[in-house]
Amino acid sequence: MGRLKPMLVKEFLQMLRDPRMRLVVFGMPVMQMLVMAFALTTDVTRIRTALYDRDRSVASRALVDAFGAGGYFRMVAAPETEAEARRLLDAGQVQAMLAIASGFGEDLSAGRPAAVQVVCDGTDSNTTAIVLGYAEAIVAGFSARQGACGGPVTVAVRAWYNPNQESPLYYVPALIAVMLLVFSIMLTSIGIVREKEIGTIEQVMVTPIANFEFILGKTIPYMITGYLTMTAMLAAAVGIFGVRIHGSLVLLYLLTGIYLAGNLGLALWVSAGARTQQQALLTAFLIIMPCVMLSGFMFPIHNMPLPVQAATWLNPMRWYLTILRGVVTKGVGLATLWPAAAAQGALAVGFIFLASRRFRKTLR
């Protein structure tokens, strides 16, 4: 313990003596949170729409009004020909086109089936799917008001945990998981590999410090920094975004410790195999990127092919995300979250075991 302390002091000094680095470690996560919380939304409104109405009847105007009413579609252009509409879509000036053929009003009043067409710019498949969903609902509603196709069954939707289905409430806690993963793996592995690259690791080797003391000295500062980062982000989530923490903070901090320990294990594993900081960075990136992408953070896991879904079991961020969402948004406890906590604990033990085996070799 007596030898560990100077090592810890050195590491903290080295990491945080540069004011720019302090900004990177503490300021950046909160800044990222501010931007990402608003950017990550698939909520589609005010779709720029071209109206190609060849009917110009009372009925067609009523349909156009129905399209404009919910705030989803916004008519911004009225092309005269289909070619003109095509140009608007090509140039991206509109995202969708509503085309009503002549005879629409007549068909409708005569009780014949009438058709309208919605054309979307499919280059963004996700937005398009949503836009077409809106269009279907609007046309069905319009149709029902015209006395056709109405029916007894409606589905009333209630969103639990997040009644207004606001994206920030979902993404803000999740961003903590991303930032902790990025920072703990990257900064730690670079911290160790830099000693190798500059050659100071040999100076450390000739000191009486033991291997485990060296490893603890390298990881404990990042563990503490991780906790500080998480606290800053939680404070921002509560103070700026009005996120309410429904569950137990103690539980959250405990399970965060397991997550951080596992990440530091990964970082050690990375740094054991790398000779230069660049190699460490690239390897860390190669681990972090799939972990973030396959965690359910941006892309739902149940959409993935089954083998990939199985692979997400080995992803620490997947489990931590379940825990974060569970504690912060749902307010559930260990009774519900134990599988995620157990999986995360197993992964952490595994990572640390692998790292210590690989690391012992490099230190010799």
């Binding site: 950046m28 969903g133 015209q146 069954v153 409606t154 009333a156 289905q165």
Partner: protein
């Protein structure tokens, strides 16, 4: 005379480029990783990642237990959007499923469902969605509502006229394939990775290991040094572009309707900008970890998040939309999607291309102006 000076200058730049290439070749692990990352990204985005909604885990509590209600349940089972996990008998069970994340949608069919449907009286099926995943739940809520519409249409299809039907078409991507939308943009992501991971550390490493002082002692000039430093990474970057385009085209069958030459030319302009961006940070910050972290935060993340790559710019709040104008990847992704899927050329995309050009020039100027070959 001027020719001879220019020739010598070129030779000095080439010498730096050779030195950097040797570094890169000697460090074959980094080179391998630099080529593996794009492949991994493309496989991820082409194969595993999609925002489309399907197979949402669903549980149902059927209080009615009648042929009509089973009919409704079969709608859920038959839908590609929902995957029926289990039938439940109480609200408590539904709640436990949502709590544990075993289900994202829970449907409750009321006990008087069949009588009311038979009598044509209104009846409400309750759908509870897991709002903690706001995006999925919003989509799931919409599809859940449409279950009611579809069920009604089945009931009334024989007795009433069809009313208004919607014919919807998606141009450029009729099947709404997710890879078609995502993979053209991957080029921008891949190049930012190269910039953030490779060039951002290259000058900083010279400062950190002390070899910069040796370089200062040689007759090399700043302009020659930065060009020489970037050249090998440009080759790696363009190889990555070729890999990305090739895999998108032949493995994931993304249509390439426009001109491939224009595609590679604009990618080269963006790559130049991105590489010099990384170099600028490397010159400015002088330590590898700091330059790299800033490159990730200021280069890679905006490219991933604020470029319209996954999350449409139109859907962001207005203030953030203005911010996206300074994210160069925004223009590259517009160009890539235009070339790949719309098959359009410079007559429509000229402004985006011009802005990329300005970006590249600005980054070269910044790198050139930032590098002082003097001892401190």
């Amino acid at each position: 005379m001027a020719d001879a000076a220019a020739f010598r200058s070129l030779r000095r730049a080439a010498a730096v480029a050779r030195k950097e290439a040797i570094h890169l070749r000697r460090d074959w692990r980094s080179l391998l990783l630099a080529l593996a990352i794009p492949v991994l990204l493309i496989l991820l985005f082409g194969y595993a990642l999609t925002l489309d909604l399907k197979n949402v885990p669903t549980v149902v509590w059927d209080q009615s237990r009648t042929p009509q209600s089973r009919n409704f349940v079969s709608l859920v089972e038959g839908s590609a959007y929902f995957e029926l996990q289990a039938m439940r008998q109480s609200e408590r069970q539904l709640r436990a499923d949502l709590d544990a994340g075993r289900a994202m949608v829970a449907l409750v069919i009321p006990a008087d469902f069949a009588e009311r449907v038979a009598a044509g009286r209104p009846v409400t099926v309750e759908a509870m969605v897991d709002g903690s995943d706001a995006n999925t739940s919003r989509l799931a809520a919409r599809y859940a509502r449409s279950l009611g519409l579809i069920f009604n249409r089945r009931l009334t299809v024989d007795t009433k006229p069809a009313g208004v039907t919607l014919v919807s078409r998606a141009w450029y991507n009729p099947a709404l394939r997710s890879p078609n939308a995502l993979l053209p943009g991957i080029v921008a992501i891949v190049m930012m990775v190269i910039a953030a991971m490779l060039t951002s550390v290259t000058v900083a490493r010279e400062w950190e290991t002390g070899t910069m002082e040796q370089l200062i002692g040689t007759p090399i000039r700043a302009g020659e040094l930065i060009c020489g430093k970037v050249a090998p990474y440009f080759v790696v970057g363009m190889a990555d572009v070729a890999i990305a385009v090739g895999l998108s085209r032949w493995l994931f069958h993304v249509p390439l309707r426009g001109h491939p030459g224009l595609l590679f030319a604009t990618a080269a302009v963006f790559l130049t900008g991105a590489l010099f961006f990384g170099l600028t940070l490397s010159i400015r910050f002088k330590t590898q970890v700091l330059a790299n972290q800033v490159a990730l935060a200021a280069g890679f993340l905006p490219t991933l998040i604020l470029s319209g790559f996954v999350f449409a710019i139109e859907n962001m709040p207005a203030a953030l939309q203005y911010l996206t104008y300074i994210v160069p990847a925004r223009y590259l992704i517009a160009i890539m999607r235009g070339i790949f899927m719309k098959g359009i050329g410079l007559q429509i995309l000229w402004l985006d291309a011009l802005l990329l050009f300005v970006y590249a020039l600005a980054m070269i100027a910044l790198a050139r102006g930032g590098l002082k070959l003097r001892l401190e």
